[in-house]
Amino acid sequence: MRDVAVLGVGMYRFGMWDVPNAVMAREAGLAALRDANLSFRDVQAAYVGHIFAPVMSAVRVMKEFGLTGLPVQHVENASATGSAAFREACLQVAAGTYDVVMVLGFDKMTTMIQQSTQGTAPENMEDAILPAAFFALWATRRMYERGMKPEHLAKIAAKNWNNGALNPMAQRQPQEPMTPERVLRSRMVAWPLTTMMSCPMGDGAACAIVGRADLAKRLRPDRPVVRVVASALQTEKYAPGHLFMGPIVGPAQMTIDTAAQAYNEASVGPEDLDLVQVHDAFAIEELEYYELLGLCKPGEAEKCIENGDFELGGRIPVSTDGGLIARGHPGGPTGLAQIWETTLQLRGEAGKRQIEGARIGLCHMMGGGSVCVIHILQRD
């Protein structure tokens, strides 16, 4: 991925809002344009990430910025929607098609859920298994194979809640420090996962402007250039034990393979990373991704959690903005919220969450258990 940079980022705070998608999207987009020192007139194309979208919602929402005739594409890949849209924009800039592209993600999960619960009974075999269950199945197996305890998951979740408290864009911002004990005491969703180990429902928007790296320096000479040095997207490969029916977490190998592709493309290894954002819709995921992304050796996640390796100030901080668990996961914008956080960190603009001297960051998202998207960002 040569010569592609994040020119600007913007967000509409994740939360439960009585605000239309179009308004959240417009606010996030304008924030990103201001951040990039660009006007909408400069945007040559837009990739829009939106889940459960009515027909033409991408084009309709883009009209909020003005009618300039630019090409608009709708990208959808479940939770990895924002990440997949970001990838399309980066590829087009790398290919030389455009110099400045807007990537805009927005969603109202509250509305999505209403739409999808209108049926009162399962209509096919797939409906028999609910999303709450499939990550719990991963957790139960991990307890059996590796001696993981619910306390490890609670420690991850508490870390993310506490990181969220430092992020003004996070949906969950606890007033007092969150403790693993409190996480464990919260309501059981699917044993051993509790509500506070799970991401909340919410609404929000996030935007990234990507463009030619030389533009970044010219537009904002006052700050470091943040380059996109890898963009990898893979779907599942068949392996024994593969699940073909019902919601799944996706085969572990998919994240290993996608990460290998990204590391290779960026010519960096996991030991070079200063911070990482992962798809932590449930705390068990973050634990598994520590190993699958190579942040620690297989079987050592529990020990590293006990050491505090992944906390702010630890060996390799993960989910620095609160992750899906605390920053929130409205769907379309989530992958772009990761880009927002990583970009701010690499510029040294992450406030109380700032990782001293952060130079390389990785963003990882899963979509429907069947798609893995990884981007690596690097400061000049």
């Binding site: 619960t117 399962p122 075999m125 409906d127 028999a128 719990a136 059996y144 969703v189 024994p240």
Partner: protein, 146 residues
């Protein structure tokens, strides 16, 4: 007091045995080229090294081994029909032919452990006219055999 007629929630996933005490069988596919088994049925072998189109229908199970399980305590997406007071179980079960399936479990969390032998059974989901709409779930194999 004859049994009501049973109809599957969706055709093509499992059998409904004529004798109500017999377990249902899962309906899958076997690749004639590489021998891999799949559930549910599919038209093309999923292995990148094979991709053969000569799959045949086979019956799988009814027994299997528990790979992982959970009990869910929150009804979501309208599936409250499967909800019990203690939550409802979901298991991943390895079938002897190879495929791993993800289906509901009967009973309570205390009934289960990883590696346990399980057997398929039909579970009534709801009534529809004079018939019961049924789904497949698994339960522990009774002491001393199925």
């Amino acid at each position: 007091m004859g049994e009501k007629r049973k109809i599957p929630i969706k055709a093509g996933y499992f059998t409904i045995p004529e004798n109500a005490s017999d377990p249902p069988r899962l309906l899958g596919s076997r690749c004639q080229r590489c021998g891999e088994h799949y559930f549910p049925r599919r038209a093309i072998c999923a292995k990148a090294s094979c991709l053969a189109e000569d799959l045949v229908d086979v019956e799988l199970g009814p027994q299997g081994t528990l790979y992982s399980f959970t009990f869910v305590h929150m009804p979501l997406f309208g599936s409250s029909n499967l909800e019990h007071m203690d939550g409802y179980g979901v298991g991943q079960i390895d079938l002897p032919e190879g495929p791993r399936v993800q289906l509901p479990l009967a009973g309570r969390k205390e009934d289960y452990y990883i590696g346990q032998p399980l057997i398929a059974e039909l579970d009534k989901l709801r009534e529809e006219g004079d018939a019961d709409v049924v789904i497949v779930r698994f339960r522990p194999v009774a002491e001393g055999g199925a």
